[in-house]
Symmetry: C2
Subunit: 570 residues, 2 copies
């Protein structure tokens, strides 16, 4: 394989920070907490209207903002955390060579040293809950406290709606198009108190580690707008900080509400510093990946102390949610024996190997209460992993999958006893007619905790197009009540996604999430479509491009086939 | 706009005829009609298995077949038509200059002359029903006759299933994954007699003009596999016969079950000769487009005689189904007044303009019985057009749309009195939660005639990605009972699709159709997925590529990111 020329990541990053055409960042201020300033993107139309839309892109697209990836984003939550006065700085866990995979003789010690120097400016003193304190959003919510994070979320979900009046007011139309929320309870007006109630009940998660003060809070819940997650991972040979941050910024530009850092191999710890300090969105990880690196990739050598140490390491860095495969119990593993595709979750197969080798119960299950104690000290949220998710239509909805799901429901109740925020991961590969059963089982057994699914893919025969095969399933399960959709890129099953694949995956999933919001009847969701359709009817081409999910592509597709001026007036 | 270098269409055509990797064409022979030889694609796997799949690509991918686009495909149905002895050759309608748009002084008479010379070898003497005869498949079916076309369809829908036994036999799995046909009645074994019954009842259409003997028969019906249509249209400046035929062959290569020729402007008639004589799939048209050209683009000048003449012209050429917007009645037009996007169907807006100008009932409605008389003499099928389909979510499921749909149901019964095969066109733009109502209304009012929908798009804000936004709706409505899905390309709403757009649209729609087949539980549909999943589990990379909808892309995506040999053995 020829090594392609190294892309100029600093310049790609600058590109990813360019504001969308005809767009500017505006903010809605909190009334309860004056420091709250919620970003929105305002699109100026050619007829003088201004359409505002949800904005995940963070300060990068703000006017005058210059990204300095070596110092990180402003810590907008720091004053809120200080005001609560329930956390304390502490020395933190001592860094170890193994954190970056240096278990054996490493040929690239110099290289790693250079990479670490790049993150010197990103080191922060970690904080944790003071002794006897709980610092989770669920804890506050249950005590009736509306945090700035909750107010931020409420304003963000509300958005600005004044402009929508131009598209409403037709009673026949509103009645005809009224959403079908399928059991979700979506209020017309979203108040901070309502957000608090949702968090208190466990129906919504606000992933917000106290060590990630840079993030703009968002919520994941069935009664909120459907969210989208993008996975990124480190490059085999990272060229440096710009490369990793660029992937993150690129993802949020195209609508990622959260980003999972699935890095493996070397430099995991250092990569995470780069990402977290520059991330305006919550960051999730699968800590077992790093724990495995620490034991040289030998699953059998994993142990609770090593895993525990990894949780603390990542919690101190600021990871907002952890995928924890605690529901993959020893007795469930034989249920996979007759499967077509066995255990396809990477975390799941690591833990299954450990369980089988030692013939012992999964240590994440046996130590679950201790995990809760760690997470509650930082407000890291659980994403309870579906290690037994189906890897093919053949294995969809089988007993292995649902036995684990029921266990995740039990664990949810334990997590909530510790006031740890919790969501539940779901499949995977599921034919259309079996999707509803996934949602039904999750609702039945998981007590309203948000569902977070990967796709699901509705067929298996579309390698190269699995973003489409899964967007179908994602849109459907989003409508049915799934709170967040983990994207699938065109490279799924084939290789590592590049920049274009990440964008393609995100657009497909923004389509799915928006289709779900419209079907559920989220207030205001359809107004964006109405603005587009009105522009279409009036042949306002520029407005059509600018209102689209991807203005660049829409504009270039149009210009490609039609003579510029004639067509735009046609 | 710079004129791009003219693509070498002859070489592109040769490329489009290349067999898929590891694939060869095989045939299943009829028992009732020995001349019946149904094509399938057999994929050789590296473990010795042979998977066979439905094949729309026609003789082009047959070993040793050399396409001579100037003489056309073999007339495989000719002996069947002869044997029925109910048709007769006749002189046919006299060609007129206006057939190719030469109404006014034409600056390109020489050019047209050259184009026509290219099709000299494609001229056939037209046939029609003998006086007093009806030659439609519905007519035969109602008389209990199983035609070779019906046997062909039965064998084609059955495919080969022996290889599927390797993936079956697990009772628990089969019970768990059993399809949900949502009211469709899908037999385990498809016999010619069953096909006949479906056609007799009007639940299936076999589009097969007696003047299109080149086609490989296929069926469209709720109880059959879900089909996909691709639209193609002439180029503004056609370079010749290879260019038009290449588009057609390219479409069938990527799975188009039927192709609509939506050409407008000049050279319509000649382009149609090129397409039909080289088409192994049914060809549909919207005759009002050509009629409008004949009156210089002035909708008000349309008349029944001009339209009637166009129907005969196209029926003689061999068009297999006509979109006829006969349900757009004068009283329905005011129902669109409060719409956001008015009338977006091109045919619909032409006829609405005519109706309003003359303040008269749509002449397609008032002459409907006469249209039936023409169509039955050639076995052209109706595709009753939805001229009032919604062009935005805002207008979905409104009274204008459903009033027209109910009228299409009335017209279906008239068509069936004349034994003319009939399907019903549907939307368009529909949010997910309103899709089921479209299917319900169609089933309620259209007496089981097959539904043929465009998408529907589930959101409006994805220009550049409308193939994805609509694949979601297409998969859902396919599962609900829609028989054929008209594709949408990434260029929808933006411009004219190029070769790559056509492919992208088709792949998205093959995903939707296959997802629907799997969900409905079409016998054998899932076996293809099982073969893929098994190859995935066993790391048989080549088999994964070759079993995919697009082997080329899967292979290139894989090779792009991973060192070739290591990864394929990983």
């Amino acid at each position: 394989m020829n090594a392609p020329e190294k892309p100029p990541f600093a310049s790609l990053l600058a590109q990813a920070c360019t504001p969308f055409p005809a767009s500017r960042k505006v903010h809605v201020s909190g009334t309860r907490h004056p420091g709250v300033a919620v970003p929105l993107r305002e699109i100026a139309l050619s007829n003088g209207e201004r359409v505002t839309v949800y904005d995940t892109s963070g300060p990068y697209t703000a006017p005058g903002f210059t990204a300095d990836v070596r110092t990180g984003l402003p810590a907008l939550r720091a004053p809120w955390l200080d005001a609560r006065a329930d956390t304390e700085p502490y020395a933190g866990r001592a860094p170890q060579a193994v954190d970056d995979g240096d278990r054996r003789d490493t040929p690239d010690a110099e290289r790693l040293q250079a990479l670490r120097q790049q993150v010197a400016g990103l080191q922060r003193t970690p904080r944790r809950a003071r002794a006897g304190q709980c610092v989770t959003q669920m804890h506050y919510a249950r005590r009736g406290i509306v945090t700035p994070e909750m107010e931020f979320v409420a304003l963000r979900e509300m958005g600005r709606r004044e402009w929508m009046q131009a598209y409403g007011g037709d009673a026949e139309r509103e009645a005809r198009l009224r959403g079908d929320a399928r059991g979700a309870r979506i209020p017309d007006v979203i108040t901070p108190e309502w957000v608090r109630d949702e968090v208190a009940a466990g129906r919504a998660v606000i992933p917000a580690n106290i060590n990630h003060p840079e993030l703009e809070p968002m919520a994941i819940g069935r009664n909120f707008r459907v969210k989208v997650n993008a996975n990124i991972g480190n490059s085999a040979v990272s060229s440096g900080i710009e490369e990793e941050v660029e992937k993150l910024v690129w993802s949020t530009r195209w609508g990622a509400d959260t980003v999972m850092d699935l890095s493996t191999g070397r430099h995991i710890h250092t990569t995470r510093d780069w990402i977290l300090r520059n991330a305006p969105v919550p960051i999730g990880t699968v800590p077992i990946y790093q724990a495995l690196e620490k034991v040289g990739g030998v699953a059998e050598d994993l142990s609770w102390p090593i895993f525990r140490d990894t949780l603390i390491e990542q919690a101190e860095q600021g990871v907002d949610y952890f995928t924890i495969h605690a529901g993959l119990r020893l007795p469930f593993i034989p249920l996979t024996a007759r499967r077509r595709t066995g255990i396809v979750s990477r975390g799941g197969s690591i833990l299954a190997k450990w369980c089988i080798t030692h013939h012992r119960e999964n240590f994440l299950y046996t130590h679950f209460a201790e995990i809760c104690e760690i997470l509650r000290a930082y407000d890291v949220s659980f994403s309870l992993g579906d290690g037994l998710r189906p890897g093919s239509l053949s294995d969809a909805n089988d007993e292995a999958q649902f036995a684990e799901l029921r266990t995740l429901g039990e664990l949810t109740q334990i997590a909530w006893q510790h006031e740890v925020q919790t969501m539940i991961e779901g499949p995977g590969h599921v034919p259309m007619h079996l999707i509803q059963a996934n949602m039904d089982e999750q609702l039945k057994h998981c007590h309203g905790a948000p569902f977070y699914t990967l796709g699901p893919l509705t067929i298996d025969i579309a390698p190269g197009y699995d973003h489409i095969a899964s967007a179908v399933g994602a849109a459907m399960i989003g409508w049915m009540g799934t709170a967040m959709l983990c994207y699938v890129t065109p490279k799924e099953h084939l290789g590592l996604p590049n920049r274009e694949d990440v964008k393609q995956g995100l657009i497909a999933y923004k389509i799915a999430a928006h289709a779900a919001d419209v079907a559920k009847g989220h207030p205001g969701a359809r107004a964006h479509d109405d603005a587009m359709s009105q522009a279409r009817f009036e042949f306002r081409w520029e407005d059509q491009f600018n209102l689209g999910l991807d203005p660049d592509t829409a504009r270039s597709f149009h210009d490609e086939t039609l003579p510029k001026d004639a067509a735009k007036q046609a």
